[in-house]
Symmetry: C2
Subunit: 135 residues, 2 copies
Protein backbone atom coordinates (compact mmCIF):
# COMPACT_ATOMS: atom_id res chain seq x y z
CA UNK A 1 0.00 0.00 0.00
CA UNK A 2 2.77 2.44 0.78
CA UNK A 3 3.76 3.29 -2.71
CA UNK A 4 4.67 6.83 -1.79
CA UNK A 5 8.06 8.23 -2.38
CA UNK A 6 9.09 8.36 1.22
CA UNK A 7 9.90 5.17 3.06
CA UNK A 8 8.58 6.46 6.34
CA UNK A 9 6.82 4.47 8.92
CA UNK A 10 3.75 6.22 10.13
CA UNK A 11 3.87 6.80 13.86
CA UNK A 12 1.83 9.94 13.48
CA UNK A 13 -0.39 8.40 10.87
CA UNK A 14 -2.57 7.28 13.72
CA UNK A 15 -3.21 10.93 14.18
CA UNK A 16 -4.31 11.77 10.71
CA UNK A 17 -5.87 8.49 9.57
CA UNK A 18 -7.47 7.10 12.64
CA UNK A 19 -10.70 5.52 11.62
CA UNK A 20 -9.97 4.83 8.01
CA UNK A 21 -9.53 1.29 6.91
CA UNK A 22 -6.41 0.28 5.08
CA UNK A 23 -6.81 1.47 1.55
CA UNK A 24 -8.23 -0.97 -0.91
CA UNK A 25 -8.98 -3.90 1.37
CA UNK A 26 -12.71 -3.44 1.35
CA UNK A 27 -15.79 -5.13 0.08
CA UNK A 28 -16.64 -3.48 -3.17
CA UNK A 29 -15.17 -1.14 -5.70
CA UNK A 30 -17.02 1.87 -4.42
CA UNK A 31 -15.71 1.29 -0.93
CA UNK A 32 -12.20 0.91 -2.25
CA UNK A 33 -12.48 4.24 -4.00
CA UNK A 34 -13.77 5.85 -0.85
CA UNK A 35 -10.84 4.50 1.10
CA UNK A 36 -8.67 6.81 -0.97
CA UNK A 37 -11.08 9.58 -1.90
CA UNK A 38 -13.14 9.56 1.24
CA UNK A 39 -12.34 12.84 2.84
CA UNK A 40 -14.42 15.92 2.56
CA UNK A 41 -11.76 17.97 0.84
CA UNK A 42 -9.80 15.36 -0.98
CA UNK A 43 -11.82 15.27 -4.16
CA UNK A 44 -11.78 19.04 -4.35
CA UNK A 45 -8.04 19.29 -3.83
CA UNK A 46 -7.36 16.56 -6.33
CA UNK A 47 -9.64 18.13 -8.83
CA UNK A 48 -7.69 21.37 -8.68
CA UNK A 49 -4.47 19.47 -9.06
CA UNK A 50 -5.67 17.92 -12.29
CA UNK A 51 -4.59 21.12 -13.97
CA UNK A 52 -1.04 20.78 -12.78
CA UNK A 53 1.27 21.55 -9.89
CA UNK A 54 -0.01 23.92 -7.27
CA UNK A 55 1.54 25.58 -4.30
CA UNK A 56 0.08 25.26 -0.84
CA UNK A 57 -1.27 28.76 -0.83
CA UNK A 58 -2.86 28.32 -4.20
CA UNK A 59 -4.73 25.29 -2.92
CA UNK A 60 -5.88 27.29 0.07
CA UNK A 61 -7.19 30.03 -2.14
CA UNK A 62 -8.96 27.54 -4.36
CA UNK A 63 -10.59 25.89 -1.36
CA UNK A 64 -11.60 28.82 0.80
CA UNK A 65 -14.09 26.90 2.92
CA UNK A 66 -11.45 24.52 4.21
CA UNK A 67 -9.05 25.68 6.86
CA UNK A 68 -5.31 25.64 6.35
CA UNK A 69 -5.09 22.86 8.87
CA UNK A 70 -7.58 20.65 7.08
CA UNK A 71 -5.85 21.19 3.78
CA UNK A 72 -2.54 20.20 5.31
CA UNK A 73 -4.00 17.06 6.85
CA UNK A 74 -5.78 15.94 3.74
CA UNK A 75 -2.72 16.56 1.60
CA UNK A 76 -0.65 14.44 3.96
CA UNK A 77 -3.06 11.57 3.68
CA UNK A 78 -3.14 11.79 -0.06
CA UNK A 79 0.62 11.83 -0.09
CA UNK A 80 0.75 8.75 2.12
CA UNK A 81 -1.64 7.00 -0.22
CA UNK A 82 0.59 7.75 -3.17
CA UNK A 83 -1.96 9.96 -4.86
CA UNK A 84 0.20 13.04 -4.93
CA UNK A 85 3.75 14.04 -4.23
CA UNK A 86 5.10 16.97 -2.33
CA UNK A 87 7.98 18.86 -3.84
CA UNK A 88 9.95 21.04 -1.47
CA UNK A 89 12.23 23.67 -2.93
CA UNK A 90 15.05 24.54 -0.57
CA UNK A 91 14.52 28.24 -0.83
CA UNK A 92 13.76 31.19 1.35
CA UNK A 93 10.92 31.89 1.58
CA UNK A 94 9.88 28.26 1.43
CA UNK A 95 8.20 26.95 -1.65
CA UNK A 96 6.27 23.71 -1.77
CA UNK A 97 4.39 22.33 -4.69
CA UNK A 98 1.90 19.51 -4.87
CA UNK A 99 1.56 17.36 -7.91
CA UNK A 100 -0.53 14.34 -8.76
CA UNK A 101 1.28 11.08 -9.25
CA UNK A 102 0.40 8.78 -12.11
CA UNK A 103 -1.78 6.92 -9.67
CA UNK A 104 -3.48 10.15 -8.70
CA UNK A 105 -4.08 11.11 -12.29
CA UNK A 106 -5.88 7.83 -12.78
CA UNK A 107 -8.63 9.32 -10.64
CA UNK A 108 -9.37 11.90 -13.29
CA UNK A 109 -12.49 10.18 -14.70
CA UNK A 110 -13.99 9.94 -11.24
CA UNK A 111 -13.27 13.56 -10.45
CA UNK A 112 -14.58 14.77 -13.77
CA UNK A 113 -17.80 12.86 -13.42
CA UNK A 114 -18.21 14.37 -9.97
CA UNK A 115 -17.74 17.83 -11.35
CA UNK A 116 -20.09 17.21 -14.23
CA UNK A 117 -22.87 16.03 -11.96
CA UNK A 118 -22.26 18.81 -9.49
CA UNK A 119 -22.46 21.47 -12.12
CA UNK A 120 -25.69 20.10 -13.47
CA UNK A 121 -27.00 20.03 -9.93
CA UNK A 122 -25.93 23.61 -9.31
CA UNK A 123 -27.57 24.69 -12.53
CA UNK A 124 -30.78 23.10 -11.32
CA UNK A 125 -30.52 24.88 -8.00
CA UNK A 126 -29.58 28.27 -9.32
CA UNK A 127 -32.03 28.29 -12.15
CA UNK A 128 -31.23 27.52 -15.75
CA UNK A 129 -30.08 31.02 -16.62
CA UNK A 130 -27.17 31.56 -14.30
CA UNK A 131 -23.69 31.20 -15.69
CA UNK A 132 -21.76 28.06 -14.97
CA UNK A 133 -18.61 28.57 -12.98
CA UNK A 134 -15.43 26.78 -13.86
CA UNK A 135 -14.39 26.35 -10.24
Amino acid sequence: MNVSVQTEIEPQAAETRPRRRPAGRTGCGVEATLSVLGGVWKPVLLFHLLRGKLRFNALCRLTPRATQRMITLQLRELENDGVLRRIVYPEVPPKVEYELTEFGRSLEPVLLSMRAWGEAFQARMDGPDKPTRTC
Copy 2:
Protein backbone atom coordinates in the same frame (compact mmCIF):
# COMPACT_ATOMS: atom_id res chain seq x y z
CA MET B 1 -27.70 29.16 22.56
CA ASN B 2 -28.18 32.11 20.27
CA VAL B 3 -27.82 31.14 16.70
CA SER B 4 -26.34 34.20 15.15
CA VAL B 5 -25.60 32.68 11.80
CA GLN B 6 -27.25 33.99 8.72
CA THR B 7 -29.20 30.95 7.61
CA GLU B 8 -31.64 29.28 9.93
CA ILE B 9 -31.56 25.55 9.81
CA GLU B 10 -34.59 23.35 9.92
CA PRO B 11 -35.23 21.94 13.39
CA GLN B 12 -34.79 18.28 12.58
CA ALA B 13 -32.15 18.86 9.97
CA ALA B 14 -29.84 19.89 12.76
CA GLU B 15 -29.99 16.35 14.00
CA THR B 16 -29.16 14.44 10.88
CA ARG B 17 -27.24 16.97 8.82
CA PRO B 18 -25.27 18.88 11.37
CA ARG B 19 -22.15 20.15 9.77
CA ARG B 20 -23.13 19.83 6.17
CA ARG B 21 -23.71 22.88 4.12
CA PRO B 22 -26.97 23.35 2.30
CA ALA B 23 -26.84 21.10 -0.70
CA GLY B 24 -25.63 22.63 -3.89
CA ARG B 25 -24.73 26.10 -2.67
CA THR B 26 -21.01 25.64 -2.84
CA GLY B 27 -18.07 26.85 -4.77
CA CYS B 28 -17.41 24.29 -7.43
CA GLY B 29 -19.03 21.31 -9.03
CA VAL B 30 -17.05 18.82 -7.05
CA GLU B 31 -18.09 20.45 -3.80
CA ALA B 32 -21.69 20.44 -4.90
CA THR B 33 -21.52 16.74 -5.57
CA LEU B 34 -19.97 16.14 -2.19
CA SER B 35 -22.74 18.07 -0.50
CA VAL B 36 -25.03 15.26 -1.60
CA LEU B 37 -22.68 12.31 -1.82
CA GLY B 38 -20.40 13.25 1.02
CA GLY B 39 -21.10 10.63 3.60
CA VAL B 40 -18.99 7.59 4.16
CA TRP B 41 -21.72 5.15 3.29
CA LYS B 42 -23.84 7.11 0.90
CA PRO B 43 -22.06 6.19 -2.30
CA VAL B 44 -22.07 2.54 -1.34
CA LEU B 45 -25.76 2.52 -0.48
CA LEU B 46 -26.65 4.37 -3.64
CA PHE B 47 -24.56 2.08 -5.70
CA HIS B 48 -26.45 -0.93 -4.45
CA LEU B 49 -29.72 0.81 -5.15
CA LEU B 50 -28.78 1.28 -8.77
CA ARG B 51 -29.95 -2.27 -9.32
CA GLY B 52 -33.41 -1.52 -8.04
CA LYS B 53 -35.47 -1.33 -4.90
CA LEU B 54 -33.99 -2.81 -1.77
CA ARG B 55 -35.32 -3.46 1.66
CA PHE B 56 -33.62 -2.14 4.75
CA ASN B 57 -32.25 -5.51 5.73
CA ALA B 58 -30.91 -6.13 2.27
CA LEU B 59 -28.96 -2.87 2.45
CA CYS B 60 -27.60 -3.90 5.81
CA ARG B 61 -26.42 -7.21 4.43
CA LEU B 62 -24.83 -5.52 1.44
CA THR B 63 -23.02 -3.06 3.68
CA PRO B 64 -21.81 -5.21 6.54
CA ARG B 65 -19.21 -2.76 7.81
CA ALA B 66 -21.78 -0.09 8.50
CA THR B 67 -24.00 -0.38 11.53
CA GLN B 68 -27.75 -0.38 11.33
CA ARG B 69 -27.79 3.02 12.90
CA MET B 70 -25.44 4.52 10.38
CA ILE B 71 -27.38 3.07 7.50
CA THR B 72 -30.58 4.53 8.88
CA LEU B 73 -29.03 7.94 9.30
CA GLN B 74 -27.49 8.04 5.87
CA LEU B 75 -30.69 6.86 4.25
CA ARG B 76 -32.61 9.62 5.99
CA GLU B 77 -30.25 12.24 4.69
CA LEU B 78 -30.44 10.90 1.20
CA GLU B 79 -34.19 10.90 1.45
CA ASN B 80 -34.18 14.51 2.60
CA ASP B 81 -31.98 15.42 -0.33
CA GLY B 82 -34.42 13.84 -2.74
CA VAL B 83 -31.99 11.20 -3.86
CA LEU B 84 -34.10 8.26 -2.83
CA ARG B 85 -37.59 7.57 -1.62
CA ARG B 86 -38.79 5.39 1.18
CA ILE B 87 -41.73 3.17 0.50
CA VAL B 88 -43.54 1.86 3.55
CA TYR B 89 -45.92 -1.02 3.10
CA PRO B 90 -48.59 -1.09 5.79
CA GLU B 91 -48.07 -4.71 6.64
CA VAL B 92 -47.15 -6.87 9.56
CA PRO B 93 -44.31 -7.52 9.79
CA PRO B 94 -43.26 -4.13 8.49
CA LYS B 95 -41.78 -3.84 5.05
CA VAL B 96 -39.88 -0.83 3.83
CA GLU B 97 -38.22 -0.44 0.50
CA TYR B 98 -35.77 2.14 -0.69
CA GLU B 99 -35.66 3.26 -4.26
CA LEU B 100 -33.66 5.86 -6.13
CA THR B 101 -35.54 8.83 -7.45
CA GLU B 102 -34.91 10.13 -10.93
CA PHE B 103 -32.56 12.60 -9.34
CA GLY B 104 -30.76 9.80 -7.56
CA ARG B 105 -30.42 7.78 -10.72
CA SER B 106 -28.69 10.73 -12.33
CA LEU B 107 -25.79 9.93 -10.05
CA GLU B 108 -25.22 6.66 -11.83
CA PRO B 109 -22.24 7.82 -13.94
CA VAL B 110 -20.49 9.08 -10.84
CA LEU B 111 -21.10 5.87 -8.93
CA LEU B 112 -20.05 3.70 -11.82
CA SER B 113 -16.83 5.59 -12.32
CA MET B 114 -16.12 5.20 -8.63
CA ARG B 115 -16.67 1.49 -8.83
CA ALA B 116 -14.56 1.18 -11.95
CA TRP B 117 -11.64 2.95 -10.38
CA GLY B 118 -12.01 1.06 -7.13
CA GLU B 119 -11.99 -2.29 -8.85
CA ALA B 120 -8.89 -1.41 -10.81
CA PHE B 121 -7.32 -0.31 -7.56
CA GLN B 122 -8.28 -3.53 -5.83
CA ALA B 123 -6.91 -5.55 -8.71
CA ARG B 124 -3.64 -3.70 -8.30
CA MET B 125 -3.60 -4.41 -4.60
CA ASP B 126 -4.61 -8.05 -4.77
CA GLY B 127 -2.41 -8.94 -7.67
CA PRO B 128 -3.49 -9.26 -11.27
CA ASP B 129 -4.66 -12.86 -11.00
CA LYS B 130 -7.39 -12.64 -8.40
CA PRO B 131 -10.99 -12.65 -9.59
CA THR B 132 -12.87 -9.40 -9.67
CA ARG B 133 -15.82 -9.25 -7.38
CA THR B 134 -19.11 -7.77 -8.48
CA CYS B 135 -19.81 -6.28 -5.06
